[in-house]
Assembly symmetry: C2
């Protein structure tokens, strides 16, 4: 094979877009065949080298020595090829590679499950290790990677310290979810390794708070777990969470950062994943781009929980049908109620704040009214709740009383201590990464947004 | 309190270094008292606001209304203060804040364990939630955060796709470490949730390989687990790993990327954490800076395992004393042997390659000699091994035979399938993040480099 320089397809498109790609350049490419059609004397391979969403068209004809190799290439085959770049401004592709030599690196045996035809998301869910080779998942997991980077960039630019909170833990944070236990094989399997029972974390929040009281602004971004036996498109037993915590920050400051983060991420993926976003908004969710652009342009509204309850009562009176039509102050809002508020009433992203303390976690700051806490849930059209945050209770006595009442003070003395040794107002929130990716991509099932989903009753590899 | 704009200490130092900090600027600061000395009419508070390693000196005198507040401030107290910035080029600090008003936000009760005196690392290990407030750990966990960002930046700049491989898994990768089991509370605790036994991952490699065969270059960076009952400064049962995987890449290419990554990270922390690195090389490890700078300037050497064995044999002959003096081809090298090679023989970072296949994992590519595999371990002076990598076996038949012999083919058919559907040469490596941080900082105990270490017999919170 000729000794031409290796190029990545991503770089070819980049060079083309800044007009530095030269007609006649001799290059080597490596990648996988997406399709191959041979019309007798001439043939076309659509090559994806993994470095970008788009493919490169390879053109070969019967004059090349490896013509027989070329015409028998099949979908999925790994190849290497050399040739000459040809600018083709008049064609569908802006450039193509005229092949001089082509070589098969890895054949595809006949039982390959991904043939060149449409495969449903459900079918591909059975093949998590192969689906990144398809258009949809290739776009989705690159977007996932870019979205993760956007999140790190956002916080890094603002001086937030990234903290790796532990996965194995002795506390279950808000006590909200069922937890997984961690065990060994010994006789006393649940206790023998650490000398006590331990579980997989449901949230890094309690562990990250002490770091906010040292660094001011911190965040954790890692896996969390719920042993919840829910079989819905939104529930997985393992998922990644972003949990920032800011000292000297109240609920208002919290909401400011949430709004900035959401907008930053949307702007980031529009800028860095234009092909992927185009694909999602034409193939997966027609209204996607407008939905996200509207979020970018909107100022997030703030309503109190109490206002929301009143609005929902009015809605019921005026004939709106909910599955749960009995609206009363103190209830947990269902997704249908949240979506009604953000979609029908506000028509844009909406913070609901000041929830009844009985339906929120023990660590949230009690408001002066004695009935509500300084919590905020961000609701967005098309999804419902995507962020939950709050100012934290920083009054030692108030918190101690609550923890005693809930019976979770034992083992969390350290958490309480933070309130008597240089405490200050602080706030934070949690953003479920996999659901957020679903919101950004329009791919709504967490079994798709996670590379290897773990859900109740189902685990692969 | 006067309505002056809030400033972060980090930004003050930044403005000072680019000479844009103006004498006479009125500002508000928030943070924690590191020390307070009052000499009767005038007093000095060293304020750390968490945004940078350095403190800001606050100067107050008896003329201010809050003088009584100021003189009674104690170490650890959360405060807010307004004042006027004064450039002090002749003093130890380049600038200070002349206080107009000072307010206590969070008092420190008398039982606060961190008094203004020296605390040993061992003492602080008992207080993982407070130690980020000390100089050493403040520097260490900011460095940790920056190092994590360096790693993401390195791969992002090079177009690598970040993949979240799962924590809960049905396979134990190389079968090297003891695994933790994941259970629920039900009757059939080990099986009832997923319908089968599952464990916590020991490595993301097997799960990330399929993504390399779709995206060319990928990496995973997340928690991994070993239920190993080792009580050493280098072993934790939970730790973060970086595992890249590159398609169309052989062992040589693998080593190139390892070398670039290590150098990139060192250069990055020198650039982004100059105060922290200065602190570590003056207070923790005197030779640290020279050690790391030498790595930056060196070209990593490559020796085969066989050459290393010969060198070790010669060393023994010439009188070098090892705890394990019996050197023979086929043995696993101990840390003392690795360090002898990298420190005494080479005097710099050294790749050992082509290990006997019997002592390496099943997925490593067999060399033509039939006895060794295309593996590489990177050894560095002062530490020993920090990276382990290999080219992967891409020959279906060879790999299938090995897996059958090892009895791990069942359940890993998908992994094997990658070799028959568009496979290609690919390589990758694993870098233990917590150990790497120890190497970069000179803080050698993993109980310190991890925010909340989980080790055999020990777990806090």
């Amino acid at each position: 094979m000729q000794d031409y320089p290796l190029v990545l397809v991503r770089n070819l498109y980049k060079e083309h877009s800044d007009a530095s790609l030269k007609d006649g350049t001799k290059v080597l490419v490596e990648g996988w065949v997406r399709s191959n059609r041979d019309s007798g004397h001439i043939g076309f391979v659509s090559l994806n080298d993994g470095t970008c969403f788009k493919c490169l068209q390879l053109v070969y004809d019967e004059t090349i020595a490896s013509y027989e190799v070329a015409r028998h290439l099949s979908t999925g085959e790994a190849i290497r090829a050399t040739g000459v770049l040809k600018l083709t401004p008049e064609a569908a592709q802006p450039f193509e590679l005229r092949i001089e030599e082509i070589e098969s690196i890895g054949k595809v045996e006949g039982d390959y499950p991904l043939q060149k035809k449409f495969h449903s998301l459900e079918f591909l869910r059975e093949l998590p290790y192969l689906r990144p080779r398809t258009n949809t998942f290739s776009a989705l997991y690159r977007l996932r990677s870019e979205l993760a980077y956007a999140i790190h960039s956002f916080f890094h630019e603002r001086g937030f310290v990234y903290v790796h909170t532990p996965e194995i833990t002795t506390n279950d944070a808000e006590g909200a979810g069922q937890t997984f236990k961690v065990a060994t094989s010994g006789k006393d399997a649940f206790k023998e390794f650490y000398g006590r029972e331990v579980t997989l974390t449901v949230s890094g929040q309690l562990h990250v708070e002490p770091f906010a009281l040292a660094y001011r602004n911190v965040y954790t971004f890692g896996p969390t777990f719920r042993a919840e036996k829910s079989n819905t498109p939104r529930h997985a037993s393992e998922f990644w969470m972003i949990e920032p915590e800011m000292a000297f920050c109240d609920l208002k400051g919290d909401m400011k950062i949430i709004e900035s983060l959401i907008k930053y991420c949307i702007a980031y993926v529009f800028e860095h994943c234009p092909e992927e976003m185009e694909f999602f908004s034409t193939r997966i969710d027609k209204g996607l781009k407008e939905k996200l652009e509207k979020v970018l342009q909107s100022e997030f509204k703030v309503l109190t929980y109490t206002q929301a309850i009143d609005l929902l009562k009015e809605a019921v009176k005026s004939g709106v049908k909910f599955d749960e039509p009995h609206i009363e102050w103190g209830m947990d809002l269902a997704s249908e109620h949240e979506r009604y508020i953000t979609e029908k009433v506000v028509g844009g992203p909406t913070f609901l704040i000041d929830y009844p303390k009985e339906i929120k976690a023990f660590y949230m700051k009690e408001n002066p009214d004695g009935k509500t806490v300084a919590a905020c849930d961000l609701l967005v059209p098309g999804e419902g709740e995507i962020v939950g945050g709050s100012q934290r209770e920083d009054d030692y006595e108030v918190l101690a009383k609550k923890m005693e009442a809930q019976g979770n003070k034992e083992g969390l003395e350290w958490y309480l201590n933070l309130r008597k040794w240089g405490g200050c107002p602080h706030s934070g929130f949690g953003l479920g990464f996999d659901r957020f990716l679903g919101y950004i991509s329009g791919v709504t099932n967490i079994r798709d947004t996670e590379p290897y989903p773990r859900t109740y009753g189902s685990i692969k590899y």
